[in-house]
Symmetry: C2
Subunit: 415 residues, 2 copies
């Protein structure tokens, strides 16, 4: 017997038939003797429609009203799933954010959960009832509805699992787990049985968007064991009591005994490269550049600065591609202050990252990467590294070639 | 300057354009110097869809979950209208039932309002803010969402007007007022400037469904001046400050100085006639019949009992047409206990009612009715009367003929 939180995303509850399937899956866990709480998203498409209405009425709408409108999507699903569970003989009730309560800060539209009061839910679960909690929503200090930002139901589920001291948080989605890389690019990509929180964070932030980043951070902080799995597999197949878990389990690094050197390859095409040419090489010049960008809320990612020549230097960095026009405008505006010669922008770049906690103890990982790319005549424009990740910037046209070559080079291809 | 509550029904807020129109109308009242609170229904069609989902999942669904699901319709409209008002420069915020709070009893799905806490809203209105309150919903003693039953937003508006001590409750709907009879039948039907609460109750309960009956009862009890008017007229035309009000005003009888003898003619085709033939004429026989019907929740309306012949009697009464099969089954089951000869059922009947507070002081109103119908060779099957209403049951095929003849006979035709 275990206490588990099950979270179902929008595609898993997209219509009444799928809500009925979800209820069957929940019932199977209850019948296996588990205490279960459920977190639900809005039915697929509903949130987009509600957001669209708010934006159509006013592009700069009041985030508090946006929250009141958009939170209804999860409220509907929670009530419907409770009805479906009752219909299948499972005692259940819906819980809205303000009823639990899930208290958040006052950042309407992108609030952060501060506390979840779990005692009442635990008491219900112990008496055999399944709470169905509306995800994505909470109660602000102003006693109004808040929402957590897109994908926030993942965070709701992880936070609830922490508050309920659940043994596992199962996140049902439209993929069946986390892969060594994007299966659309590499046919031999393998599903991972386990992945460390830190690895998942690096993979999520570079484009493998299975879970909301904040939910992974929270899982790591609270040590919640999160399992990612598909809601479209057969119910029987995924519920072998005591058997193997079918999805990917996010765990503490220590739980992964046989650490691969590299766990996965991620890529992102949402980057743009900027080079500030021939800026005076004196203290404070980088600060002047990046303050100008920060003033326009442009996030800067990879940064390299060339050695000085003639008292001048080149600074190259990447920004999100959507931020490129704002970044260029900010640099134009700062030109006199910084005193550079010109700004070069290149949107046709991609960031390729190899990720793995195993690289901490294995030197030579970077060298394999550089040698592999060189073997395919792919030029590396910028390099950045962290403890468990090495990222390079390359020409966007080489993305698939690079990912496939690296997947093979690190021994990740399925047999 | 006045304090008013404005209520907009589903067709008035059916899409974003209409919500924008509603916001303009509210703004006009604010700019005229009034303190305004708004009550909104769900966008047209939304409630039916949500109810349909609940029923599809389980015909006998938990009314508490039904309430959580269905109340979202008004929540969406409230948020969207607050955004539209802000966009037009009007300070506004949405209020959900649990936020006001609108406390109700625990009859989920058909709850009754017990109290509305008005102090916070009054303070906001006095500072120039327009509260937009989600209609139809409240907070039950179980701290869960309740709803008031179909058409409940009218009741929300009247109750709010009472709590805010508003001078008027304007109910915007898809008709522009209350008429002397159905204009689809009588081209010369006139819009009434004023109507007494009691008259409105009689007209509403016999088929002129402009307002939810309970909202009229509440308006009468709390002496709330309710105005029914159309949301589809030109904004300018309806807002002549200090000028004539364009809709129909529900007021206390004393406010109507020149009382017409008959105010309106109503009809209902949703009736069925049942005759229990040759029941033994002894004490308790009517009780035996009507207890059997009450046991099946069948409401009985008009009742007549013939004089006895041979120690037997005939009892004739009407029930809602939809209840006819249940009524017949209940009577079959009670046959041995009651001891009647046979049951005759006739669904092809209509109830025609003439209504007017003036008839209290004018004898001969019934006689005019009977003479008028006789003049058209229409046979009267059953008669029932109250202080301000005379109803007759006739063959359904004569409905239009009877309504037109009576409208003329009581001098109600427009010039």
């Amino acid at each position: 017997m275990a206490r588990i939180v099950m979270k179902f995303g929008g595609t898993s509850v997209a219509d009444l038939e799928r809500i009925g399937n979800v209820a069957r899956r929940v019932r199977a866990e209850v019948e296996a003797g588990n205490e279960v709480a459920v977190v639900v998203s809005a039915m697929a498409g509903v949130t987009n429609q509600l957001v669209g209405w708010c934006q159509a009425l006013s592009p700069l709408h009041d985030a508090r009203e946006y929250d009141a409108v958009v939170a209804t999507g999860e409220q509907v699903t929670a009530g419907l799933l409770a009805i479906a569970l009752q219909q299948q003989g499972v005692d259940s009730r819906s819980w809205l954010g303000w009823q639990v309560p899930v208290t958040t800060d006052d950042a309407h539209g992108k609030a952060r959960i501060e506390e979840i009061e779990g005692a009442a839910l635990i008491a219900r679960m112990q008496s055999g009832q399944v709470p169905v909690v509306a995800g994505f929503q909470g109660l602000g200090p102003d006693r109004r509805v808040t929402t957590l930002g897109r994908g926030g139901s993942d965070t709701s589920a992880v936070a609830l699992a922490a508050a309920l001291r659940a043994e596992r948080c199962d996140i049902y989605t439209d993929v069946d787990g986390v892969y060594t890389t994007d299966p659309r690019i590499v046919a031999k990509a393998r599903k991972l049985d386990k992945i460390a929180y830190e690895e998942m964070l690096e993979l999520a932030s570079v484009g493998a968007k299975v879970l909301q980043t904040r939910s992974v951070e929270l899982a790591m902080k609270e040590r919640v064991r999160v399992q990612v799995l598909s809601s479209f597999e057969d119910v029987q197949g995924t519920l072998i009591p005591g058997g193997m878990l079918p999805g990917t389990l996010l765990v503490d690094e220590d739980e992964i005994v046989e650490k691969a050197i590299v766990t996965g390859i991620a890529y992102s095409r949402d980057e743009a490269k900027i080079t500030v040419r021939r800026a005076p090489d004196r203290p404070g010049i980088a600060a002047a550049i990046f303050e100008a960008l920060a003033g326009e809320s442009v996030n800067v990612d990879m940064i390299v600065q060339n050695v000085s020549a003639d008292g001048n230097t080149d600074v190259t960095f990447t920004v999100g591609r959507a931020d490129l026009p704002r970044a260029q405008a900010a640099l134009d505006e700062a030109r006199a202050r910084v005193g550079y010669a010109e700004v070069l922008a290149d949107p046709d770049v991609a960031k390729i990252s190899v990720v793995g906690v195993g690289m901490r103890s294995h030197p030579g990982v970077a060298n394999t990467m550089f040698r592999t790319l060189a073997g395919k005549s792919i030029n590396i424009q910028v390099i950045s590294t962290s403890e468990i990740k090495i990222s390079v910037l390359i020409g966007a046209e080489y993305t698939e070639l690079a990912v496939r070559a690296l997947h093979t080079a690190y021994g990740l291809d399925a047999a």
